[in-house]
Structure formats: structure tokens, C-alpha cells
């Protein structure tokens, strides 16, 4: 009976399964490799230095994309990430300015806690008020941005020197930017244990099918709050890396909210929830940044990069919807 014919691949089942499940990510990595090749072609002296620059420049958006991915996987969306970054960034920069290195460490810890608190508040509001995620986080994005401007009206403050040196330059080899290592280590240290825990499984469950999750014994509300809180933690990390890479805190939110949504969609996370991971969005962030770099190298107005991002975002979704409807029937 076909119903029983569950395909089992005895030969290297893990690899085959990985290829099947992560085909989107693999496609994205191929695209990344092509883009790197293309970059080398148009800019023959693109090398270690370029990679180091890339490492630093992707960091804030990379953390933002991870934050967004976690919320979207759990079936929500966080439109306040950009503002959260502005707030955490200015808090970090103003508090660190002129202080000792050890105090700087305390500030970092405090800022991360702030991020978690902001995220948890988002989640609690979504669960308690039953107002849609989009509206709640849109509203809190005002609040965080306003608070950031109240902390400092103009760009200012300073990053602790150790924080800056943590993300600039290379480690061991010129080809290994410190920023990228910090990024990967932090994301891996949080995401890998999380995704293997029951909590991580619950995030996917809630985003994928709330009724089945409820019947499987998942506490829906609590899981959502935790998802937003973890996103807040990564929002705080994104804000810190903004401070680290620019040396100051800027109270006006950058385009990170919208770009994080774009990166998440490009990275193979379904906006319907339950599907994807954080690795895809990370690769998508690099791709988006490389497109921007390449337009500069080509002497094209960098604003076209923005156009390209918009077109890719909508195009990918239209493609996805076409594929979906073809599969459906």
C-alpha cells in the first residue's frame, strides 16, 4: 500500500535528508558563491580586506535577521526590531562613554537584559491583548524609537574600546574577520541548544499548527512570550553591534526592521510560521550586503541596491505563492 511506503534511504540518509529539507538554503549558498565569484571578477583585488569589511557591515542586520527569524518561526512578526536596536544602541553608547572596561561589561549585560525585557513586553502584549502582532510591534516600534531619542537627541556616546576591537580586524588568518566569528559563535551558542530543546521544538509547533500544538500539550501563550523575549535578546545584540561598528549610538532607527523581514523571507523562513531556521537568513544577509557592495564596485548608484532588495523580496514571495498554488492543485 502506498500509504506505508515511507521512503527510507539507507545510503547516507542524513545527507539526502539534509539536501531535501534545506534545498532553499543550499540554493541560497550557491547564489552566495556565485556572487562572491562575480565580486572577485569585477573587483580583482577583492580579498581578505573586503571580507573583513563584509564581516563588520553585516553584523547588525545579521543579529536583527536572527531575531526576526525566531519570531516568524513562532508564527509572529516583530516590526519593532529596528527601533529596539536604536534604543539598545544609544543606551549602550551613552552609558559606556568615558567609563572603564569592566563597567562596559556590565553595560553590555544590562543592555542585553533590556533587549530581553523589551521583547518579552512585545510578546506579553500580543498574548494579553489579542491585538495582531503587526499592530502591537508597530506601536512598540514608536515607543522604543521615542525612548531612544529621549536618551540622546543626537548621535553620540562612545563604544568601549574592547567592544570595538572585538569586532574589527581578523583572527588567526586575515580571511577570518573577528566580527564574523563573534557573530557565528554567539548565534550558535544560543540557537543550537535552543533548537534542540523542547522549547525550540515548541516554537516551531506553535508557528506551524496551533491546534496540534495545543493538543500536544504546548502552552501557546508562554511559548510566544519566550519567542519574543529571545528575539529581544538578539535585538539587543544587534544594537550593541551597531554601537561597536560605528563607535557611537544613533537614536534614529535604520532600515533594519524592513531588511530583517526581507532577509528572513529570502532565507527560507515561511511568514506563515513553523518553517525555516536562522542559518538561511544569515546567508541571505550576506547576499543582500554583497549585492549592495557590488553595485558600488560597478559604479552603479547604490540606491539600485535598495530597488533590487525590494524586487527580490516581492519576487521571491510571488514565486513562492506560485509554487504553493501549483502544489495545492
Amino acid at each position: 500500500m502506498t500509504a506505508l511506503a515511507v521512503t527510507t534511504r539507507r545510503h547516507n540518509p542524513d545527507l539526502a535528508e539534509w539536501a531535501r529539507r534545506d534545498s532553499w538554503t543550499i540554493g541560497l549558498m550557491v547564489l552566495l558563491a556565485l556572487l562572491l565569484g562575480f565580486t572577485k571578477l569585477i573587483q580583482p583585488n577583492y580579498g581578505a580586506f573586503g571580507i573583513q569589511g563584509l564581516g563588520i557591515s553585516i553584523m547588525p542586520l545579521a543579529f536583527a535577521a536572527v531575531a526576526q527569524a525566531i519570531v516568524v518561526i513562532a508564527g509572529g512578526i516583530d516590526l519593532s526590531i529596528g527601533s529596539m536596536m536604536a534604543l539598545t544602541s544609544v543606551v549602550a553608547a551613552t552609558q559606556m562613554e568615558g567609563q572603564s572596561g569592566t563597567f562596559g561589561v556590565a553595560v553590555v549585560a544590562g543592555v542585553l537584559l533590556l533587549g530581553i525585557a523589551l521583547g518579552a513586553l512585545n510578546g506579553a502584549l500580543v498574548v494579553a491583548t489579542r491585538v495582531p502582532d503587526i499592530i502591537v510591534t508597530l506601536a512598540t516600534s514608536f515607543v522604543w524609537a521615542g525612548l531612544a531619542l529621549l536618551v540622546t537627541a543626537a548621535p553620540g556616546g562612545a563604544a568601549a574600546p574592547w567592544l570595538m576591537s572585538l569586532t574589527t580586524g581578523a583572527f588567526l588568518s586575515d580571511w577570518l574577520p573577528k566580527a564574523a566569528i563573534v557573530l557565528v559563535v554567539i548565534v550558535a551558542a544560543i540557537w543550537i541548544p535552543l533548537s534542540r530543546s523542547r522549547l525550540g521544538v515548541s516554537l516551531y509547533a506553535v508557528g506551524s499548527d496551533q491546534l496540534a500544538a495545543f493538543r500536544s500539550g504546548v502552552a501557546i501563550g508562554r511559548t510566544k512570550v519566550i519567542a519574543y523575549a529571545i528575539a529581544g535578546l538578539f535585538g539587543g545584540l544587534a544594537g550593541l553591534s551597531l554601537t561597536a561598528s560605528t563607535g557611537i549610538g544613533t537614536p534614529v532607527p535604520g532600515p533594519y526592521t524592513l531588511q530583517s523581514v526581507a532577509a528572513v523571507v529570502l532565507g527560507g523562513v515561511s511568514l506563515a510560521g513553523g518553517r525555516g531556521g536562522v542559518f538561511g537568513p544569515l546567508v541571505a544577509v550576506i547576499v543582500l550586503q554583497l549585492i549592495q557592495n557590488d553595485t558600488t564596485f560597478l559604479g552603479i548608484d547604490p540606491n539600485y541596491a535598495l530597488v533590487v532588495q525590494g524586487v527580490i523580496l516581492v519576487g521571491v514571495l510571488i514565486l513562492g505563492s506560485l509554487l504553493e498554488s501549483r502544489r495545492a492543485g
Binding site: 512578526i77 512598540t140 514608536f142 515607543v143 521615542g146 548608484d301 541596491a305 535598495l306 525590494g310
Partner: protein, 329 residues
């Protein structure tokens, strides 16, 4: 059923619930009056006919942008490209001021461009069923990018906000009646009449209330949505022209700060993000409330960013209140 349930909980609460649900405009006007009283108390003698004229003048473009959100939200959508389209409209018209066709040509070009943006939005949302948030977000990238490109290409040509637009946007007849009412009154009348008395207006509510029922009744919703997003983009362009006239500024980021207030005004005005409920009357009062609220914050000597914090909090509170009174269980 609701009536029975409510009578048990006391008449006053029930009446309040019913009023907020069915005629939100009454408590909203009450809130507006309270804010006006507060501002008069804070700065005695400030409330004059001239002051009212200035407030109305500032509210008009916001009300139009909020109208875009109202119409799209009635169908369960949202239009996040309005700020980009509005900025683009003001800016491009200013750069075309010295072209052979003059201001008229500029305005025609801008309206055609806006209609194209709306068409793409509408096709994305209506035909490909990409989430309106994502579609319009993507289009805002595209519009921003193209506007920036246009900016670089026209940087040497003489540009300036045409006098006609300045008069339209900022002129006040007899120190009391803003000139922009010439545009706004017919537009508002058309929207309100359209929503109440035309088949098209009814379909916006129908699609937002229950897309399945609309479909089963023979409504092809993609047709409705394509037209809707074109209308929304055209209204955004008109608002952009008025804002550039009001501020005498032509900038590709001019209207960005009005995006979130436009959603806020619609939400405060009683239009549900879930669709099927709301109208333009409440939205206009919502725009007035937000304008008076920022005036109050200024009068109280609070820093300008307080606005955002207050706006954000109000959105959550009001949306939660609406969610409470409109959910039957």
C-alpha cells in the same frame, strides 16, 4: 445574545461597550474635546480660531494618508508604501518645476507613477496573494531606491516646491480656513460616499469581513484589491504634494515619519486591522487627535520624541480596547 449578556454586567458598561463598538466617533470626539481642554488649560488663551485652522491644516495630509490605511485595512490589508509614494510625489514634482509642462506635467507624471506602484501592490496582494504588509513594504524599498536615483540624476537642475503647491499646502484664507480643504473636502466626501453608497465600497467591507463569504457570493476579490491599491497610491501622492507644499520642502524622506502615524490614526479611528469594520469619519477624528496630542506635548514643554512614545502607547491601548469590545465571547 450580546445584549442579554451585557445587561447582567450593568447598564453603563454595556452602553459604553455598544457605543465604542457601533459609534466610536462619539467617544473619539469626546477625547478630542478633552485634549483641546487640556491644551487650553496648559496654555491659557492658545485655543483660537486661528489655532484651529493651523491644527486642521496639519491634520489634512495625515488624514489622507490615514485614509489609505483605512481603505486597505477595511479589506484586511495595510499599505506601508504610502510614505515612500508621498515623498516621491512631492520630490519629483519639485524637480520637474522647470520642465516645459511645468507643475501640471509634474503632477501628472507623479500620479501616473503612483498609479503604477499601486498597480504592482494590487497585483501582488490580489492576484499572487502575497501578504499586503510584505508587498507594500517591498514596493516602498523600490520607490525609495528609485527616488534616490532620481535625486542623484537631477541634483544639478533647479528644483523647488512650486508656489501653487505651497499655496495649496500651507495657505490659510482669512487666517482661519486652510486652503488644502479645497482638495480635502471633495476627497473626503468621495471616500465617505463611496464607502456607504457604492457597490465597490460595500465590497471593501465584505472582503475584509469574510473573504470566503464574498467569494461564495460571486465576488472576484482580486479585481477589488487591484483597484484599491491604485486608489491608495494616488491618495498617498496627493498627500505628498500637500505635505511638500506645507513644509516647503522637497526631500525623498520627507513623509517617512508620517507612516506610523497614518496607521495610528486609522486604528484610533476605529478601523479594524482584521478588516470589515471602520470608516473614514473616525479616521479624520483620529488624525485630529494625533495632531492635537503632539501640540499638547509641545505646549507642555516635553521633548518632541515623547510624541512617539505616547502615540505608540495609545495605539496599543486603543487597539486592545476595540479588540475587547468587538469580540463577542
Amino acid at each position: 445574545m450580546a445584549v442579554v449578556a451585557a445587561s447582567g454586567r450593568g447598564h453603563a458598561a454595556a452602553a459604553w461597550r455598544t457605543t465604542l463598538r457601533d459609534r466610536p466617533i462619539i467617544p473619539l470626539i469626546g477625547l478630542l474635546a478633552l485634549l483641546v481642554l487640556a491644551i487650553e488649560a496648559a496654555d491659557f488663551g492658545i485655543v483660537t480660531p486661528e489655532w484651529a485652522g493651523v491644527i486642521v491644516r496639519a491634520s489634512i495630509p495625515l488624514a489622507i494618508l490615514a485614509g489609505c490605511q483605512t481603505l486597505t485595512m477595511l479589506t484586511g490589508g495595510i499599505d506601508l508604501s504610502v510614505a515612500s509614494v508621498a515623498s516621491m510625489a512631492g520630490f519629483v514634482t519639485a524637480t520637474l518645476v522647470n520642465s516645459p509642462g511645468g507643475v501640471a506635467q509634474g503632477i501628472v507624471v507623479v500620479l501616473v507613477a503612483a498609479a503604477l506602484v499601486g498597480l504592482v501592490n494590487g497585483v501582488g496582494v490580489g492576484v499572487f496573494r502575497v501578504h499586503p504588509l510584505i508587498t507594500t513594504l517591498g514596493m516602498s524599498f523600490v520607490v525609495d531606491g528609485l527616488a534616490n536615483v532620481w535625486q542623484l540624476q537631477t541634483v544639478q537642475t533647479g528644483a523647488g516646491v512650486p508656489p501653487v503647491l505651497r499655496t495649496m499646502g500651507s495657505g490659510i484664507v482669512g487666517d482661519v480656513v486652510p486652503y488644502s480643504l479645497v482638495v480635502f473636502v471633495p476627497l473626503a466626501a468621495a471616500i465617505m460616499l463611496g464607502l456607504r453608497r457604492t457597490g465597490y465600497g460595500r465590497l471593501l467591507f465584505a472582503i475584509g469581513d469574510n473573504p470566503v463569504a464574498a467569494r461564495l457570493s460571486g465576488v472576484r476579490s482580486w479585481q477589488v484589491l487591484v483597484v484599491l491599491y491604485v486608489i491608495s497610491a494616488l491618495m498617498a501622492a496627493i498627500a505628498g504634494l500637500l505635505i511638500s507644499g506645507l513644509t516647503n520642502t522637497a526631500s525623498v524622506t520627507l513623509v517617512d515619519t508620517s507612516l506610523l502615524p497614518s496607521v495610528a490614526a486609522a486604528v484610533i479611528g476605529g478601523t479594524s486591522i482584521f478588516g470589515g469594520r471602520g470608516g473614514f469619519g473616525g479616521t479624520m477624528v483620529g488624525a485630529l487627535i494625533l495632531t492635537v496630542l503632539s501640540a499638547l506635548i509641545t505646549v507642555l514643554g516635553m521633548p518632541e520624541p515623547t510624541n512617539q512614545v505616547v502615540f505608540g502607547s495609545i495605539i496599543v491601548i486603543v487597539a486592545a480596547a476595540y479588540t475587547r469590545v468587538t469580540s463577542e465571547s
